[in-house]
């Protein structure tokens, strides 16, 4: 089986550097410059996988990114293995270990192959039709489908490779390094424009660079030599950047493009260490030149999918570029001239093509004449009707076409072969053009969709064969002419160019080639990766599907990882033929990015692990870490959650912290609360408009709690605002709401009330906040600021003082979120840790206990204080929260006021905040649990849910807050909280559980 099909003359492959690799466990050799596909073909291996649905043996079919079959898994390391890699694109490296996908247990013996014999039972829409009933069977179906679908296996461990993102701005981006791309890059660079040329291959020159043929001459030398000189000359331009192995993934509006550069994928594993694997380029180009080329179409006839059936141009590339014969008995099947170029290339390398089957009546073109002069045998006006051979094509059968091409006539004649090249003409690669918003037009002459120059977004141009130009002279001359106007060039270095090339005159296209058998008895494959046939498309049309988008989804044509690069045109053609429509009117399916699959690594770049999101830490963070705090994420902030001591669990720590805060003293880092500095002569009026309560009469030096609504009347945020001066306030917001509140306030100021003289500045990071609470808080503060009169008279609840701690200015507010006598010290953040430590020292004799967010939540729940975002969810009005006292009813207006008496907001059966006490005081339920009245009446009516639930150590019982329909009227009512294994009986109560008279504030 192992045969060497390498020829010895070759310019592109380094035959002195042998590379060993493995395929399906078998040790093989290739050369530097090979792709995995070319190395496999050199070893006479065509069979690389099984098809998706019928598990038919499939072989390498192309030499590029359009490859539908040769999709392999690279490596088996659980963190490095790479699925769904195209063997035609991956460059061979020492130690490459590839294996077939989609076959089990092996590519040569595949159990799913039984589907092939069942194929009459697997028509279009098979999955939709079969796996529908009964719903409870879905789990079983899913296992079966996943097992037999068997695409590549994802790595199971995290990816250790490094990926990068880079922004780039340029005057001109040229996509594609074929002949038109090279000419474009040179013209752009010659004009002095900052130019980037990208190409997905390791070499430049596209398909021209290995076109060693006297029929193609530019300035009297062979086109490949001429192009090699041009590529060499690009080195002279410092303003030109060339990026090889870089494939364009997406072309977005305003010339924003994403390209993936592969930096180490072609290196041996040892050479990769420490290097960036792939870089995602984010390119903003003033002008874009698309030179993405074209791909060859297959031909659609029965059993056109056997290993050994390869696109004709790919056979040419394998022999001319890689020096690999794709077989020893090759025949070709074509509808155009390009197969004859392949025949000539093969002849020069010592492979005489057995026969060329051509559906045309004849061709007068120079290239065909050359082929005939070499003695090649052509079967004109004929078609292949069938092929034989299971794991490799062995023979094919030919019949004569009728004059109109709709039928076959005469008898079958059989030809042996081990490789059949097929050529169905060329499809311009318009994916990037359409991604950018360009619209296509249909050219009847050669059945191609090409860019419509009148519907091309500005500052871009398509050149070369992606623009529908296929003849060498057209490609070169039109590229130069179009670029002269696109880049505003008066003349160019190519003005004297002379081109000789053959002219193809005879054209014939048949989307689905006729057979002597009814279509039901044939297997003409359209989409090789997804295993859909021309039969399936016709069936879909019979079943009533009309839109190409629907046919595509129903038959899965074009839905594979190749996005139907080979199949879309034929699917459209067959639909048009069957329904009697013009293809131009059918339109194409939508091409979506990425053009070729991207790795997740390239997409996320360095934004992994701790770089995934910003982490905000308070100025006192290090102290918390040293003192073994457990942290909780609050937005981007890391907040101490609780401070466990001596092996305490969370519950034990929180119970201790909560008790200490009320028995003596507690200390909390409240620095994450949002702080907005508000100044200006209209500051009071501004607060009047954004808060529900009145602000004008607040004395300087006093604090007030405010509730902020959305315009729809729902509670949005809350916090204490302090009047620092006549025209100066400082507002606190919730931790999570800080940024949004600032944006909202700015929005109103800039757009609705620009006449107000108000300035907003966020000072959240500039000031840290240390909160000390508890009956001993006053004594502790007295030790820290001995000069300050802390008497209730001088410094009452809801007031503030400017003072100094060790000569550093600070503001101390006497405000309380716990219901205890408490103070908040606001100080410049760089002094915060020192002051915190001072507080800890001063508080030692009073058992000053640091507590985290959990204890804070518990203490405020004992007092029935809400947390916006926990007890509220954007559907509760102040009245729903039983906070009618905070509505300034006499105020003319404030944000959300009008909404408070809409018919919906005044409903009495809205969900309203209430307290809950459990029958058994030890029973704690889960937050989010539902509240019901009657569990026997089905369906059970849900009356509300628990928003906050804790065990209170200070009350020695379970307490909770909940929202309940008509809750305000239900005080004393008994309800049920049904849990997984029991029902908990509860009573609706007041929301305040502890110190209802607020005596402790002044204790």
């Amino acid at each position: 089986m192992s045969k060497n099909l390498r020829i010895n003359k070759n310019n592109f492959i380094d035959q002195t550097t042998r590379i060993s690799f493995k395929f399906n466990g078998q040790k093989l050799f290739g050369y530097k410059g090979d792709t995995l596909a070319s190395a496999l073909l050199a070893n006479n291996i065509h069979l690389v996988g099984r098809s998706f649905k019928y598990h038919r043996p499939r072989g390498i079919m192309t030499c590029g990114s359009e490859e539908p079959n040769a999709i392999v898994q690279i490596g088996n390391d659980p963190s490095l293995t790479d699925p769904n890699v195209r063997a035609t694109e991956i460059e061979l490296y020492e130690g490459l270990d590839a294996s077939s996908q989609n076959c089990w247990p092996s590519v040569n013996f595949d159990i799913g192959g039984i589907n092939n014999f069942l194929s009459p039972l697997l028509p279009a829409g098979f999955y939709y039709k079969t796996f529908m009933w009964p719903a409870s069977f879905w789990e079983k179906y899913e296992y079966f489908i996943r097992h037999s679908a068997g695409l590549g296996k994802a790595p199971t461990k995290s990816d250790p490779d490094i990926y990068d993102h880079q922004y780039s701005h340029c005057d001109v981006l040229v996509v594609g390094g074929g002949i038109s791309g090279i000419i474009s890059a040179k013209l752009s660079a010659e004009k002095g424009l900052d130019t980037i040329l990208i190409d997905d291959k390791s070499f430049l020159g596209g398909s021209t660079i290995y076109q060693e043929n006297e029929c193609y001459k530019i300035n009297s030398i062979n086109s490949n030599k001429w192009l090699a000189n041009e590529i060499e000359s690009l080195k002279n331009y410092p303003n030109l950047i060339i990026k090889n192995r870089t494939s364009l993934a997406a072309f977005h509006g305003y010339n924003y493009l994403l390209a993936r550069e592969s930096l180490t994928d072609h290196l041996s594993v040892n050479e990769r260490k420490g290097k960036v694997r792939q870089r995602l380029w984010k390119i903003r180009a003033k002008k874009v030149i698309i030179a993405s080329g074209s791909i060859e179409r297959p031909l659609i006839f029965s059993n056109n999918d056997r290993p050994g059936i390869i696109l004709s141009s790919s056979i040419k590339k394998y022999i001319d570029y890689y020096g690999v014969k794709t077989g020893e008995n090759i025949s070709l099947f074509t509808n155009n001239d390009s197969a004859y170029e392949t025949a000539i290339s093969l002849y020069k390398s010592g492979v005489k093509v057995n026969v060329i089957v051509d559906i045309r009546k004849n061709s007068e073109s120079l290239i065909v004449k050359k082929a005939l002069e070499l003695g090649l045998k052509v079967l004109w006006e004929s078609t292949v009707v069938d092929t034989q051979g299971y794991k490799r094509i062995k023979s094919f059968e030919v019949m004569k076409l009728s004059d109109d091409g709709n039928n076959v006539v005469g008898d079958r004649s059989k030809y042996n072969c081990d490789c059949l090249g097929i050529s169905g003409g060329w499809t311009p690669m318009v994916h990037l053009f359409t991604q950018s918003g360009g619209k296509l037009k249909f050219r009847n002459d050669d059945n191609a969709f090409i860019p419509d120059e009148n519907k091309t977004p500005s500052n871009q141009i398509s050149v070369g064969s992606c623009n529908g130009e296929f003849k060498l002279n057209e490609i070169v001359v039109n590229t130069i002419e179009n670029l002269k106007s696109f880049l505003s060039l008066s003349n160019s270095c190519y003005d004297e160019i002379k081109i000789i090339c053959p002219d193809e005159k005879s054209k014939r296209n048949i989307w689905l080639l006729p057979s002597d058998k009814p279509i039901g008895k044939t297997k003409p494959f359209l989409d090789f990766q997804n295993d859909s046939t021309a039969k399936d498309v016709k069936l879909a049309l019979r079943e009533g599907f009309k839109s190409i988008e629907h046919v595509k989804r129903y038959t899965t044509t074009g839905m594979g990882t190749d996005q139907g690069k080979l199949s879309n045109m034929h699917a459209l053609g067959i639909i048009a033929d069957t329904t009697g429509t013009n293809m131009g009117e059918l339109g194409t399916t939508t091409f979506r990015p990425p053009y070729t699959p991207l790795t997740f690594g390239a997409i996320v770049g360095r934004n992994v692990g701790e770089f995934f999101d910003h982490t905000r830490k308070t100025a006192i963070h290090n102290w918390h870490v040293k003192n073994k705090a457990e942290f909780e994420n609050v937005g981007q902030w890391k907040r101490p959650w609780y401070f466990p001591k001596n092996g305490e669990n969370m519950h034990q720590a929180v119970q201790r912290e909560s008790k200490a805060a009320r028995d003596s003293s507690g200390i909390l880092d409240a620095s994450t609360l949002g702080k907005i500095d508000i100044q200006g002569s209209d500051a009071s009026e501004f607060l009047n408009r954004i808060y529900t309560n009145a602000w004008s009469k607040l004395e300087i030096g006093k604090c007030r709690y405010g509730l902020m609504l959305n315009e729809d009347g729902m509670v949005y945020d809350d916090g204490v605002t302090t009047r620092l001066g006549e025209n100066h306030y400082i507002m606190t917001t919730t931790t999570g709401g800080a940024a949004n509140v600032l944006s909202k306030l700015e929005d109103y100021l800039q757009t609705e009330w620009p006449e107000l003289d108000v300035y907003l500045t966020t000072v959240t990071d500039q000031y840290s906040t240390i909160s000390i609470c508890g009956p001993n808080s006053k004594k502790i503060l007295a030790k820290i600021v001995p000069g300050l009169d802390l008497s209730d008279n001088n410094f009452p609840h809801m007031s503030f003082k400017n003072t100094k701690i060790s000569n550093v200015n600070c503001r101390i507010m006497r405000i309380s979120f716990t219901g205890e006598h408490s103070y908040e010290i606001n100080i410049q953040s760089n002094y915060a840790e020192d002051v915190w430590i001072k507080c800890m020292e001063a508080g030692k004799e009073f058992n000053l206990t640091p507590y985290g967010t959990e204890t804070m939540h518990l203490l405020r729940a004992e007092k029935g204080f809400i947390i916006t975002g926990q007890d509220t969810d954007g559907t509760l009005t102040p009245s729903d929260l039983q906070m009618d006292w905070i509505i300034g009813k006499k105020k003319f207006d404030f944000i959300g006021k009008r909404s408070l008496y809409r018919s919906d907001t005044i409903r009495e059966d809205r969900k309203q905040l209430v307290g809950l006490l459990t029958e058994d005081p030890k029973e704690i339920f889960e937050e989010g649990a539902q509240l019901v009245e009657n569990i026997n009446k089905k369906p059970i009516e849900m009356l509300g849910h628990v928003t906050s639930s804790y065990f209170s150590p200070n009350l020695n019982k379970s307490i909770a807050l909940a929202v309940v329909k008509s809750g305000k009227k239900l005080k004393g009512k008994k309800l049920i909280v049904p849990m997984e294994n029991k029902n908990i009986n509860v009573t609706i109560t007041d929301t305040v559980f502890y110190d209802k008279e607020n005596k402790r504030l002044n204790a």
């Binding site: 509006g253 305003y254 903003r284 944006s743 929005d747 800039q750 620009p754 207006d893 909404s899 809409r902």
Partner: protein, 91 residues
């Protein structure tokens, strides 16, 4: 992804901006005088059309200024940007 010409900063990438929905919807001066329907019209009803649309945008990761923009939603062409309070330069 657009390039937006902030009236205060000049051309910047779209990622620096956030969109604030339909422009030129003025908050009623006397909400209390409005019926539920009239208030609901202001509060909830917004256009979302294919074609030329007037939008509010904020240079959120830049100067933080709000401004107005005329954009054709069918092709994302930005036809004008202008400051808050200014009349739209096109109809």
């Amino acid at each position: 992804m657009f390039i937006i010409n902030c009236p205060y900063c000049g051309e910047r990438d779209q990622t620096e901006f956030s969109c604030g929905g339909e422009a030129h919807i003025e908050r009623p001066k006397q909400p209390t005088e409005l019926s539920d329907d009239q208030w609901a019209e202001y509060l909830f009803m917004r256009k979302n059309i294919k074609g030329v649309q007037f939008e509010r945008w904020n240079h959120a990761h830049g100067c933080r200024k709000w401004f107005n923009m005329v954009r054709d939603t069918s092709n994302d062409k930005i036809q004008a940007v202008y400051k808050m309070g200014e009349k739209p330069p096109i109809k």
